[in-house]
């Protein structure tokens, strides 16, 4: 009868994704698997390039040179990693709580759009105030955009996976409308917003990297401290472990979920405005580049830990920047880096599954 069964052996309610996210049992495997996945993906990518008639080692050499062999390479990597770090941190918090949002892209767009609208057609404010208030608007908008999914879950039981994904398309449509109609620069021939002007982010002195990178770097230890040392961080862990335990002992899961999603959205909104203020300086239809989806890879590769996210974001940004450079020298299809990124994910998931074969399964 049921009472003779030890509840400890009954697995927690868990999907395939949940099992992958939980990570392997040993600390060694939790680092070895992502590292191995990256190496394996590079090997397969090399084989593909060899098939295309490119010497893989030379190409990879060029990739490394593209990042480290020139000043611009490191700058570009840092600039590209900035939104990935911020987005990845938000996704990591949500996934730690087993709230599977895939809406970072939409929150990123919504935050950037709202911040830009505030800074370009809002009240005229002096430079620094405009920048800070623009950031605040972007953060709040991202949080609210993400909160819609939390609300729909609490109110209607709608899956966050679905609602957050669909909200991405709403944000993309809003972007398309805004740059053509809503906040269009009347003086411009092409559809785009006015430039941010005074609200643009200055560079970190002595480098070619905008201040947003510093913000992203500081966000890493800040988030780590929040997760480790606050009640909210504790609730994130308990929610991820078992929502019913959270409900019976700590807090309402719906509230914690809302807070988690709002925080993830806040990071995404921040990432969006930082990208506008630091890089593009205005909104264009091409603003949506899929960083919000890459951020999911970043969070997973980084094992949902803030420091891991930082490393993974720098790695993926470096790969992209390096391949951009290598493409100028070799005839490599521009999709190669995308293939390698996808292979990293495949090997990563497979590696995790393999490191948890029966016999070493966690109880």
């Amino acid at each position: 009868m049921t009472m003779t069964r030890d509840p400890a052996t009954v697995p927690a309610p868990d999907g395939v994704l949940g099992r992958v996210l939980r990570g392997p049992d040993s600390r060694a495997a939790s680092v070895a698997v992502p590292v191995g996945a990256v190496l394996a993906a590079l090997v397969v990518g090399g084989v593909l390039m060899a098939v295309e008639g490119v010497a893989p080692l030379s190409a990879y050499g060029e990739v490394v040179l593209g990042v480290f062999g020139r000043t611009r390479g490191l700058i570009d990597t840092a600039v590209m990693a900035t939104p990935l770090i911020l987005l990845g941190l938000g996704v990591a918090v949500a996934y730690r709580a087993r709230v599977f949002t895939i809406g970072a892209e939409g929150q990123y767009i919504a935050g950037a759009l709202a911040g830009t609208a505030w800074a370009t057609v809002g009240p005229p404010l002096p430079g620094l105030l405009l920048l800070v208030s623009g950031l605040a608007v972007a953060v709040l908008t991202g949080a609210a955009w993400s909160g819609v999914a939390a609300w729909m879950l609490a109110r209607f039981g709608a899956s966050v996976v679905i609602t957050s994904l669909l909200l991405n398309y709403v944000a993309a449509a809003a972007l398309a409308w805004a740059v053509r109609v809503g906040i269009r620069d009347p003086g411009s021939f092409t559809p785009q917003s006015r430039p941010l002007g005074a609200a643009a982010l200055p560079d970190i002195p002595g480098t070619g990297v905008h201040l947003g990178f510093l913000v992203a770097l500081l966000a890493v230890p800040a988030l780590a401290a929040v997760l480790r040392r606050t009640r909210f961080g504790f609730r994130v862990e308990v929610l991820g472990a078992h929502p019913e335990v959270l409900a019976a002992t700590e807090a309402r899961p719906a509230r914690t979920r809302l807070a988690v999603l709002a925080l993830a959205g806040a990071f995404a909104g921040l990432a969006g405005f930082v990208e506008v203020a630091g890089v593009t300086e205005r909104m264009t239809p091409a603003f949506a580049t899929g960083y919000g989806f890459t951020a999911i890879i970043v969070a997973l590769l980084g094992r949902l830990r803030p420091v891991g996210v930082l490393v993974a974001a720098l790695l993926l940004a470096g790969l992209t920047v390096g391949f951009d450079e290598a493409e100028r020298v070799f005839i490599i299809p521009s999709t190669t880096v995308g293939v390698i990124q996808a292979l990293i994910v495949v090997f990563f998931v497979a590696g995790d599954a393999l490191s948890r074969r029966p016999g070493r399964r966690r109880r």
Binding site: A8, T230, V238, G240, H242, V245, R363
Partner: protein, 489 residues
């Protein structure tokens, strides 16, 4: 004709024997009642007969042929089908599609009309109406159960096992089900009804087998030879009852009060539990204990009435307020309500009561050490995941947290379930010590002997209603009869 015979069946889970050499003989043309308390081994025995589990020892014969391979498919081919307590239908598919899933007519998914016709034919043949054109999730529980039975009959089951079939039904549906069972038996099938309800044994069964703690205490005797009192005694045993021997504090204040509190299956209930008192709650699963447990612990709000501790309502869905209000909760299922398995032991001690800003992990763990030592929680210290603890140590961890700070009310649901005797003894002692310190204790128990030993008063929940409290010395027969009275009509 013998439909199935089981000989010397033994089965244990871990160290606990669930079945200890059970013999059972089932005849075609009969409705056989399998009676026993929770945990007596009824379901385990029938799962073996249905191929859902295998015996450690013993033989099973179906229609005279010994069974070599225990798998659902093998037994289904021999004509054995079991309708489990928790239905196994796919909620988004229609009745016909569920039937087709169990026995596909071909490689293709059948058309809607074809599937519907199949249900209609079966429903008419056996007199079990089921709506065929809506997803199963929109059927009533009674319909779902009829569909489960139809699915079994569709596979031409000669031996049909129903596990607690009336637990989810209203009285009229339960009566109809018993009539159906009778008709199936008249048709030459063997029917087994697993139950702990005496009323339906007398209403619809020919013979009765009673299990107690994994052993047969009444082997297939005709129901007509028994009355309710004799079967109740067989179920719960006749051992002399140990009394708690504790002194109740005279004139102690009322701590916990229920005024017509009702929710779900639990009918409006009035109760008062005094400081220092242990109130035992007995009853078989599904008679309102889970609902009462949730009301007392503030998991859910009463639909009617009120639950108060020292005059203040129990905070609902606000666990930190519950803890601050001095309500300790030891849930029946600790890994669902009390412990987060992947988190460390130290973190689990912190659930519901830690500070807003948490000290570093090392200091948190250092603080947990003396608590673990005091409660003798063994299994690797504060930094290991709680899921790695054994049952006894995990439960001690829960108690260590919940009883900290002198609670006013202790809600303990089967606190010693599945524990080794040493851990069980310690946990009982500590809960009684909390009562001695002035807490009101509500102790939900599955084992009467334990309840008799700890409870100052005892109520039995049956069919969602509480009996008048029993007081020591307890009359085992009367308590057993009250427990089996659910669904009495």
């Amino acid at each position: 004709m013998i439909a199935a015979a089981l000989h010397g069946i033994r089965r244990s889970f871990g160290s606990a024997p669930a079945l200890d050499g059970v013999d059972l003989e089932l005849r075609a043309g009969e409705v056989h009642a399998l009676l026993g308390e929770n945990g007596a081994g009824k379901t385990t025995l029938m799962r073996i007969l249905a191929g859902l589990d295998r015996p450690d020892e013993g033989t099973v014969e179906v229609a005279g042929q010994p069974i070599g391979e225990f798998s659902p498919r093998a037994l289904r081919e021999r004509g054995v089908a079991m309708v489990q307590q928790h239905f196994t239908l796919v909620p988004t598919l229609t009745a016909g599609e569920n039937l087709a899933l169990a026995r596909p007519p071909g490689r293709l998914r059948p058309g809607a009309r074809q599937a519907k016709r199949r249900v209609a034919e079966l429903a008419e043949r056996y007199g079990l109406p089921v709506r065929a054109d809506v997803p199963v999730e929109r059927l009533s529980v009674g319909e779902e159960q009829r569909l489960e039975i139809l699915r079994a009959l569709d596979a031409d089951a000669r031996l049909l096992i129903l596990d607690e079939p009336t637990a989810v039904l209203v009285d009229s549906e339960a009566e109809a089900l018993l009539r159906t069972c009778r008709a199936l038996a008249d048709d030459g099938r063997a029917v087994v009804i697993i139950t702990h309800r005496l009323a339906e044994v007398f209403a619809g069964c020919d013979r009765v087998t009673v299990l107690r703690r994994g052993a047969v205490v009444c082997a297939g005797e005709p129901v007509a030879d028994h009355d309710r009192a004799s079967l109740a005694t067989l179920m719960v045993g006749t051992a002399p009852t140990a009394s708690s021997g504790r002194q109740r504090v005279p004139g102690a204040q009322v701590r916990l009060r229920l005024d017509g509190a009702a929710r779900g299956r639990l009918q409006p209930l009035d109760l008062a539990v005094h400081a220092g008192e242990v109130l035992g709650v007995a009853g078989v699963d599904g008679n309102g204990q889970a609902e009462l447990e949730e009301l007392l612990a503030g998991i859910a709000a009463p639909e009617r009435g009120a639950v108060t501790v020292d005059g203040e309502p129990v905070p609902v869905a606000a666990p930190r307020e519950r803890v601050a209000g001095g309500i300790a909760y030891v849930p029946a299922d600790r890994y669902r309500r009390a412990l987060a398995g992947p988190l460390t032991v130290a973190d689990n001690l912190e659930l519901g009561r830690g500070p807003r800003h948490r000290p570093p992990a090392a200091r948190r763990q250092a603080r947990a050490e003396p608590v673990l030592a005091e409660w003798d929680v063994r299994g690797g210290g504060p930094a290991v995941p709680a899921a790695s603890l054994s049952g006894g140590n995990a439960q001690k961890l829960v108690l260590a947290r919940e009883l900290a700070g002198g609670p006013r009310l202790v809600v303990a649901a089967q606190p010693t379930r599945g524990l080794d005797p040493e851990a069980a003894r310690m946990i009982s002692e500590r809960i009684l010590a909390a009562a001695a310190d002035g807490a009101a204790v509500v102790w939900f128990g599955a084992e009467l002997d334990e309840l008799f030993a700890v409870a100052d008063r005892l109520v039995v929940l049956a069919g969602g209603r509480a009996t008048e409290p029993f007081t020591p010395p307890y009359d085992r027969g009367a308590v057993g009869l009250a427990m089996a009275g659910g669904h009495a009509s």
